[in-house]
């Protein structure tokens, strides 16, 4: 079977130029994303400085088991997506599909666990507002506001990443033309690594404050 030539869009001279443009485009987009989350990280820094003890008290009420399990799952999904990219570069269709599906399953289990965790948080009155648990100091509310905002925004990104990966998996599975999708898979992988890296910052900042005392 001759290697199918991926189409080059009309505005580009050749494949290489198209590939360069797409890759730089994804990196630029990720820079945008970093600054989008940056506002929340700045707010976290400021308020943790203001309300140091309350943040510690709030953090102790997060669920360490759920949080840690999810961290392990996401790091593993970074590995599986990297293996999918590698398999695509080696032009191994079956292996590419397998690792994409593994990544999707890991991502889905992350969301399911997060859902159980949110359910538990709501049941323990950890949502800021009038029903916020009275057993915590006042400004633990600010901590939990940031907890919901940051993990919520991250979860949205997980869902976006899952949709992208699902679409790619279906396309690869149906078209069976791996070279045409190689760049796309690589860039989706980049995005997925970004989603994981955000979580690697969220986990210590939200779950591990003041756990030692």
């Amino acid at each position: 079977m001759p290697e199918a030539n991926p189409t080059v869009a009309e505005q580009f001279d050749d494949r290489q130029q198209q590939r360069d443009a797409a890759t730089l485009g994804m990196w630029t987009f990720l820079a945008t994303e970093v600054l989008f989350f940056g506002g929340l990280f700045l707010a976290y820094t400021v308020y943790r400085h203001f309300y140091y003890d309350d943040f510690g008290a709030g953090s102790k009420r997060t669920d360490l088991v759920f949080g840690t399990t999810n961290s392990v799952i996401l790091i593993t999904s970074s590995l599986s997506v990297a293996l999918a990219v590698r398999a695509a570069n080696l032009n191994n269709l079956k292996s590419t599909l397998r690792w994409l599906v593994v990544t999707l399953l890991l991502a889905a289990s992350f969301l399911v666990i997060k859902g159980f965790e949110y359910h538990k948080d709501i049941a323990s009155n950890l949502v800021p507002g009038p029903n916020f648990t009275p057993t915590l100091p006042l400004h633990a509310q600010t901590f939990f506001w940031l907890y919901w905002a940051m993990t919520g925004l991250h979860a949205v990104h997980v869902m976006v990443g899952m949709s992208v990966l699902t679409a790619i998996t279906l396309l690869v599975w149906r078209q069976r033309n791996l070279p045409a999708k190689r760049t796309t898979i690589e860039l989706a992988g980049l995005y997925w690594h970004f989603v994981d890296i955000v979580w690697l910052f969220l986990y210590p900042l939200l779950y591990l404050v003041n756990r030692h005392s």
Partner: protein
């Protein structure tokens, strides 16, 4: 492309061929029409404000309406006119042409950015129709998030959505300039307009997401009453100001850098000279973009910011004047011994330089801590930033439109009338805003619908100036529309200018060039002058 008469305008005349176009030139035209709509509403709001201020007590509108007028004016002018003005209209049209490419790197994203702009614009416009917003364009918390009784959330949503359009435009330009230059077109052979668009795009991509998250947090605080900025909830309102100005000060450079790019193109063409100090002008754009990210704290000299932070921001704000001054000096040096002709674009651009110098230098007054305490929140600030945004960016936008109009439409506008319009704009602008420097220095606060009677003289001057300024905008609108039908057909290069955009037909074909050009020379390679100031005939 076999038919030579086929151009991007005649390549399809159905509504669908426009609404689903991925041609960067058509998207530029779509943006031009859309921002004109928002400009008209925002200008009408300004006109009402100026009429109200004719009299110290003001009898035209109630105070609440006045608050809404200046908010509408600010929001629409900043986000729905100035920010997309040169980048999305001229930038979209010209960047691929100038670098010898067939289109931008991501044509569909380019179209999406227009739809995002329209969707955002719809929400903003809807908020205006429902009754407007009274927070000022800055949405300071906790007023915006807790106390205002106006349509804050819908307006913020509009800006939020339009912001993603800005990000996509910036992203597209960065990638296009980086990866799609024609053979031989090295970085230092790029037209300076392209350099300035590159610098602008860096700001669009890195600053806009911060505004997005800030408005999102503000909106959530308003809707659910839980949040980060209201002191009642343990929040810090100054954090909102920091986040807001981390975007909005660099945004000022989104609103001036593209104008500076236009100046470099026009001034070389009508002085028939190579630009003086190409690399300095090019890198000063990048320097402005970078330093511009480090000066936002000068908006908070009187907002409980620490003295040391104030000192640092003051110093950094002075620093950003250096690359700006480099540009002005280099443009002036370009004029020296040039063979200058005062066509309409050149008149606008000469006006730009003068007005930008005034706006820039008064910016230094405001960056000085002690002076700022005196004039903060007065008309001095209003005059200063209008000299930059209107005197600078809008004048440059008009200059750019006049310069590239023949390329965009294939038609010429009446020359004399255009020169008259440029002069009217300059006079009207100065009469409107110079008195506001005096008013501010004397202590008239901004954003207030009435004032002490001794300020009336200057306010009447300002309102009269606004009427003249309005004429200065109306005239070009009329003869531009007229020229579409009755204007003389334009040659491919009516100004005898350098640059790849002039090497293709007017209007350009759908894919810009019959054959992708190969670049072998530096930009602005105008023939040298002999000792008598005439062009040597090579």
């Amino acid at each position: 492309m076999s038919d030579a008469r086929q151009n991007y305008l005649s390549a399809g005349d159905t509504v669908k061929s426009w609404l689903l176009t991925t041609d960067h030139k058509r998207i530029g035209i779509l943006f031009l029409l859309s921002i004109l709509f928002f400009f008209s509403i925002a200008a009408a709001a300004a006109a009402l404000m100026r009429l109200e201020l004719l009299h110290p007590q003001g009898h035209l509108v109630v105070p609440d309406t006045y608050n809404k007028l200046f908010t509408i004016h600010g929001v629409l002018m900043v986000w729905f006119f100035l920010i997309p003005s040169i980048p999305s209209v001229l930038g979209n049209f010209l960047v691929p042409l100038m670098i010898g490419a067939r289109d931008v790197a991501f044509p569909r994203l380019n179209l999406l950015s227009w739809y995002l702009f329209l969707t955002g614009g719809f929400f903003a416009f809807h908020a205006v129709i429902l009754g407007g917003v009274d927070t000022g364009w800055t949405f300071y918390t906790p007023y915006s998030s807790a106390y205002s009784n106006s349509h804050v959330v819908e307006m913020a949503l509009g800006i939020f959505i339009a912001g993603f359009g800005s990000i996509l435009t910036g992203l597209n330009f960065i990638i296009t300039i980086q990866t799609m230059r024609a053979p031989g077109l090295t970085w230092f052979r790029l037209p300076l307009f392209v350099w300035s668009m590159f610098a602008t795009s860096i700001i669009l991509v890195l600053a806009t997401p911060v505004l997005a998250i800030t408005l999102l947090l503000m909106g959530v605080e308003r809707v659910w009453g839980i949040g980060l900025f209201n002191p009642k909830l343990g929040g810090d309102p100054v954090l909102f100001q920091h986040l807001f100005w981390f975007y909005s000060h660099p945004a000022v450079y989104i609103m001036i850098l593209p104008g500076m790019g236009v100046v470099s193109e026009v001034i070389t063409c009508f002085a028939r000279k190579q630009i003086f100090g190409y690399k300095f002008v090019a890198f000063s754009s990048v320097a402005i973009a970078i330093i511009g990210f480090l000066v936002w704290g000068h908006h908070m000299f009187v907002s409980t910011q620490s003295l040391y932070a104030g000192l640092t921001f003051s110093l950094l704000s002075f620093l950003v004047a250096i690359p700006s001054a480099i540009k002005v000096f280099n443009w002036t040096a370009t004029l020296y011994r040039g063979s200058i002709s005062f066509e309409a674009p050149m008149l606008y651009i000469i006006g730009f330089i003068g007005l930008f110098v005034v706006g820039g230098l008064t910016g230094l007054f405001l960056a000085t801590l002690a002076v700022d305490v005196h004039v903060h929140g007065t008309y001095f600030v209003v005059a200063h930033f209008h000299y930059i945004m209107v005197g600078g960016m809008v004048t440059a936008f008009m200059g750019g439109l006049h310069y590239w109009w023949p390329k965009m439409t294939g038609r010429l506008y009446p020359r004399r009338l255009a020169q008259v319009a440029a002069i009217i704009l300059f006079i009207g602008f100065n009469l409107t805003f110079f008195p506001q420097f005096i008013l501010g220095y004397l202590g008239m606060p901004r954003r207030v619908h009435d004032y002490a009677p001794e300020f009336q003289f200057y306010n009447v001057c300002s309102t009269c100036g606004a009427a003249i300024l309005g004429l200065g905008y109306l005239l070009p609108l009329l003869y531009f529309v007229w020229s579409l039908r009755y204007g003389q057909k334009a040659a491919d290069n009516p100004w005898q200018a350098t640059g790849l955009e002039w090497k293709t037909t007017s209007p350009p074909p759908k894919h810009n060039f019959e054959v992708i050009p190969v670049v072998t020379e530096d930009p602005y390679n105008y023939p040298p002058l002999n000792d008598y100031g005439e062009h040597e005939h090579a």
